[in-house]
């Protein structure tokens, strides 16, 4: 039996919009084990992105409990939380969100800088990653010089460089054509097989099917699994 990676216990997220409190996530209960590949599905506004952001600790639940690797995230201080996600979580974005002023190499290197990894070690790690993704030849290019698929590849490489236990991907193929899409999803499958836990949000049934588990959201609630 694989270890539990995270668990949500009646986790809720509300925001105040004017005088009304709007509930974005409503009493979510969810257990994720290491090695799972989960696809979150649901229409726009159903809370997929919010859930990913909250799990990724960029955002936080306003109610309920959130345990990550046995640690109670909901009662943690910002600093510790940041330490936790820096260590264990990688993000992949729909719009890639590479830093335009940095080369491919430097983009991939960035998370290591924030983890204070030594220079020589960084070099080795980034070189490995470039090698693995077959983008060594592009290491000195800037994001603007790459195609969308290539950019997303760099995005994933950047997410993986810190050896995270969990990858959160918000519509990772939303800006890509179907061929590029397939390549990226194949890559996710491969990574998952190598033991990385993945949670992706997607609109596409086809992409969702790469996952080992599909969760449907509607109006901030889990409606089916």
């Amino acid at each position: 039996m694989a270890n539990a990676l995270l668990s949500l216990n009646v986790a809720t997220r509300t925001v105040n919009s004017g005088s009304n409190a709007v509930t974005l996530l409503d009493k979510i209960n969810l257990q994720v084990k290491e090695g799972e590949f989960i696809s979150l599905m649901g229409p726009s506004g159903s809370g997929k992105s919010t859930l990913l952001n909250c799990i990724g600790m960029l955002d936080s639940f306003t109610g309920g409990g959130y345990t990550f690797l046995g640690e109670p995230v909901h009662s943690m201080k910002e600093k510790n939380r940041s330490k936790l996600y820096k260590e264990y979580i990688g993000f992949v974005f729909q719009a890639y969100h590479l830093i335009d002023e940095l080369t491919v190499w430097e983009n991939i290197e960035t998370p290591l800088l924030y983890k204070n990894v030594k220079s020589s070690e960084r070099k080795a790690l980034v070189a490995d990653m470039l090698d693995r993704f077959n983008i060594v030849g592009k290491k000195n290019l800037f994001p603007i010089q790459l195609s969308g698929g290539q950019q997303q590849l760099v995005g994933i490489a950047r997410a993986l460089i810190g050896k995270p236990k969990l990858i959160l991907a918000d519509e990772p193929t939303g800006n890509l054509n179907s061929k590029q899409s397939t390549e990226i999803m194949e890559l996710f499958s491969q990574l998952n097989k190598e033991g990385v836990t993945i949670i992706q949000a997607t609109h596409s049934e086809h992409n969702a099917s790469y996952g080992s588990r599909i969760i449907n959201l509607l109006d901030g609630r889990i409606v089916s699994e």
């Binding site: 992105s49 952001n53 990724g56 960029l58 955002d59 600093k79 940041s82 996600y85 820096k86 993000f91 974005f93 719009a95 969100h97 590479l98 830093i99 335009d100 002023e101 940095l102 430097e106 960035t110 998370p111 800088l113 924030y114 983890k115 950047r158 810190g162």
Partner: protein, 784 residues
């Protein structure tokens, strides 16, 4: 990590060339400006520092009471120096001294130089450095003279030794060179080219050895152990002890204050040039502030472009403090680039600046202090300008910015507007001040002087010239180029040569009045164009006129007599009958009313000749005619002259300096502010491009859109005008209080400054506004 910041900063600079240019250029101008001021201040603060004894040397001015008011003079009674040395234990050296201009000749070589007659202690007090001869026995010979290297080389040539040689002074006396000293640097309060024993000047005159008349400077040196307060108290009591008939008293004025704190009012130091030093320091910081504001504004205005990066970096695990460090490092890098640029600008501008301030400042990049200050300015600017954008940008929440939500601008745009208002307020204050300073100078220049300063030459003469004057005058007039000539004991624009102790019928015996003496020839009023408003002028007989005087209008008024003609003015045993009243004329302080004047027909004391050239005669011709006459009758003297109107203009040097600098700084402040405004307008236009597109599609005209975009900025300039008016008025009012003769502050100045600011701002903004307005809406609507 820092390497990463530097890399990204440079790439970001290169990517946004226009933005980088605005930022770096603005900051570079600011740093250049501040550096120029700091160089000037450094020079001002370094005055007299070349003299080794900074803590022990003092000038001894006297306070004298006239018409109930204490006035301060550098002239002291002759015996004061010796008495201070004898009776005040803390004083170890003292000298009398008098600054004089003399003609020096060796063979055919002749030059005029200002120097000092003084006692031997003078050489010690000022620690003069001897190149030839030595300090101890330089003044043993009563006919000695010590020359600076410069004048020695002029007279004897570069390679010749001057020591032991004879130099002829004023075409009558021989002096023996007993020493050559190093040249004095430019930044001394009282420059001199030679020093000679005081006895040679006083020639044993009785009145120079008594209390009662003040004529020589006194310098003293205190022992290092002496307590200033104790010694100063004794100095203050000394004259009263020695001469019970006067309430004059002397006091100590430190060498460190000679240059910057030498303005006296009511017998106390009230400041001096130090107020200009402070004013310009404040201006330097204000200009830097304006430049920093630009940086802040441009950085926060383009925050949207950076927001995404902030989001990504935070998601990658960056803490806020790391982002703050990153943004401040970027600002620092920019500031350093600006500093490098400003060094180039400084090298380019310094010669011009030197011309304006009449100094010889150098960049001094080998001076570690200069480098440290420059780096300091860059660091302070970088950190200060980077701080707010850093905190603002790093506060973005990754969830929001990564989703592409618009960054809310509430506080940032309010602060940005505030900063623009701040910049323009400062600029407008500068404009107003510039106009006012200009007006005040013109006002004083155009005031009724009481004489005609045009076509009037002033020449220094020596005593041997005086007997020849009548002949020279006739020959000058005969050339046809000269209207008339006269002799006088004082330059026409200068104060000095004054005295007190006068009594007249109907005057009080308690209040003393300080009168200036002008010992003149008969032709004085005719030559200078001064007007005799009552009575008559002098006759052509000096002896017959010996008991007659003319007085200035203000003196006549002071005497209160309805008909001053025939009234007797007496001083001691001398009685003088008033035969005429001369219209008041302005001398000394051009911004104040001048002391009353007593004119005596006594050319023997003359030290200057004035020559009025004829109307319509070209200056060159008049000068060559005059030179021919003087060469004939006075061949030993070089033909040296000044034009009184030029000397008059030179009297406004300080005000002119303030005026010109405030003009330059006003222009730079506006330039920097406009760079910022230009950038802001560009970003606003960019931000609102979609709105503009929609409006155009809906039928808005180009002019309507230009108006729409310019309106907001003009509102800010309007607010700036409102804020700046009271500030400028207050500053100008205070500045004008220094001048007795001053302008009223006119309301139209504020209007002019306001309109100017609006026009400049409009020109800056409308370029961007027009560009945005004529853009094809299809392009802007297609995006997103």
């Amino acid at each position: 990590m820092i390497f990463n910041y530097i890399k990204i900063a440079f790439r970001s600079l290169l990517k946004n060339k226009g933005y980088s240019f605005l930022n770096i250029f603005g900051l570079a101008i600011g740093i250049t400006c501040a550096s120029l001021i700091f160089l000037w201040v450094e020079d001002e603060l370094s005055f007299n520092e070349s003299f080794a004894k900074q803590d022990e040397v003092y000038y001894v001015p006297t306070n004298q009471n006239y018409e109930g008011e204490w006035r301060t003079f550098y002239s002291t009674p002759g015996p004061l120096a010796q008495d201070m040395l004898d009776e005040i234990p803390g004083i170890v050296k003292a000298t009398r001294s008098s600054s004089e201009e003399r003609l020096f000749a060796v063979g055919d070589n002749s030059i005029t130089r200002r120097g000092r007659y003084a006692d031997a202690d003078f050489l010690d007090i000022f620690s003069l450095k001897f190149i030839e001869g030595n300090r101890e026995d330089a003044f043993v010979n009563p006919e000695a003279i010590v020359l600076t290297q410069e004048i020695a080389e002029q007279l004897f040539g570069k390679d010749e030794k001057a020591l032991g040689k004879v130099v002829r002074v004023s075409n009558k006396d021989n002096y023996l060179v007993t020493g050559v000293i190093e040249n004095l640097p430019k930044n001394v309060s009282f420059p001199f080219s030679w020093v000679a024993p005081f006895e040679r000047y006083s020639e044993g005159a009785q009145w120079m050895t008594e209390y009662g008349s003040n004529f020589s400077d006194t310098f003293v040196e205190l022992s290092p152990e002496a307590n200033f307060e104790t010694v100063d108290a004794q100095v203050r009591a000394l004259i009263g002890k020695k001469a019970d008939f006067t309430d004059d008293y002397a006091f100590l004025h430190s060498i460190k204050d000679w240059h910057l704190r030498s303005k006296f009012e009511g017998g106390e130091i009230v400041g001096g040039r130090i107020s200009y030093v402070r004013l310009f320091m404040i201006i330097a910081f204000i200009i830097l502030l304006i430049a920093c504001i630009n940086f802040m504004n441009l950085s926060t205005a383009r925050s949207e472009k950076r927001a995404n990066e902030v989001g990504v970096r935070k998601a990658m695990g960056s803490s806020r403090s790391r982002l703050i460090t990153q943004f401040i490092s970027e600002a620092l890098i920019l500031a350093f680039i600006a500093a490098v640029f400003s060094v180039l600008l400084l090298a380019l501008l310094l010669p011009q600046f030197n011309l304006i301030i009449e100094k010889d400042l150098s960049l001094g990049l080998t001076n570690p202090i200069h480098i440290v200050v420059l780096l300091g300015i860059a660091i302070i600017c970088g950190v200060f300008a980077g701080l707010y954008p850093a905190f603002y940008l790093s506060s973005f929440k990754p969830v929001e910015v990564l989703k592409g939500l618009k960054v809310t601008h509430g506080s940032a745009s309010f602060i940005r507007k505030g900063l623009v208002v701040g910049q323009f307020t400062i600029s407008i204050v500068f404009i107003i001040f510039t106009i006012l300073v200009y007006q005040q100078i013109q006002f004083a220049k155009n005031r009724e002087l009481g004489y005609d300063k045009d076509q009037l030459l002033s020449m220094r003469i020596d005593r041997d010239f005086i007997p020849k004057f009548d002949l020279i005058q006739q020959e000058l007039i005969r050339t046809g180029s000269v209207h008339n000539a006269t002799l006088c004991n004082s330059k026409i624009l200068s104060s000095g040569n004054n005295g007190s102790g006068f009594r007249w019928k109907g005057g009080t015996d308690t209040e003393d009045v300080l009168l200036s003496f002008r010992n003149v020839t008969q032709s004085f009023f005719e030559t200078t164009g001064m007007e005799i408003i009552e009575g008559r002028g002098f006759s052509n007989n000096v002896e017959a006129d010996s008991a007659y005087v003319l007085v200035s209008e203000s003196l006549a008024k002071m005497m209160g007599d309805e008909n001053p003609i025939g009234n007797i003015i007496s001083r001691g045993e001398d009685n003088m009958e008033i035969i005429g009243v001369v219209k008041d004329y302005v001398y000394g302080d051009m911004f104040d009313s001048s002391d009353p004047v007593l004119f005596l027909h006594y050319p023997n004391y003359a030290r200057f000749m004035f020559i009025k050239t004829k109307d319509g005669v070209p200056v060159d011709q008049a000068l060559s005619d005059i030179e021919a006459v003087l060469k004939k009758h006075n061949p030993a003297y070089p033909f040296e002259y000044t034009f009184v109107d030029e000397a008059f203009n030179a009297k406004f040097k300080n005000e002119q300096l303030v005026g010109e600098l405030s003009q330059i700084f006003a222009m730079l402040a506006i330039l920097i502010s406009c760079l910022g405004l230009f950038g802001l307008a560009a970003y606003t236009a960019e931000q609102r491009s979609k709105e503009i597109g929609v409006r155009k599609v809906l039928g808005a005209s180009v002019s309507g859109i230009v108006k729409l975009l310019s309106k907001d900025f003009l509102k800010l300039v309007g607010i700036s005008i409102l804020i700046s008016i009271p500030i400028a008025w207050y500053a100008a009012y205070n500045w004008l209080q220094d001048y007795a003769y001053r302008i009223e502050i006119n309301w139209w100045i504020f209007v002019v400054a306001g309109v100017l600011a609006i026009v400049i701002a409009l020109a800056t903004v409308s370029f961007q506004a027009v560009k945005a307005a004529i853009a094809n809406p299809v392009d802007s609507l297609k995006t997103e």
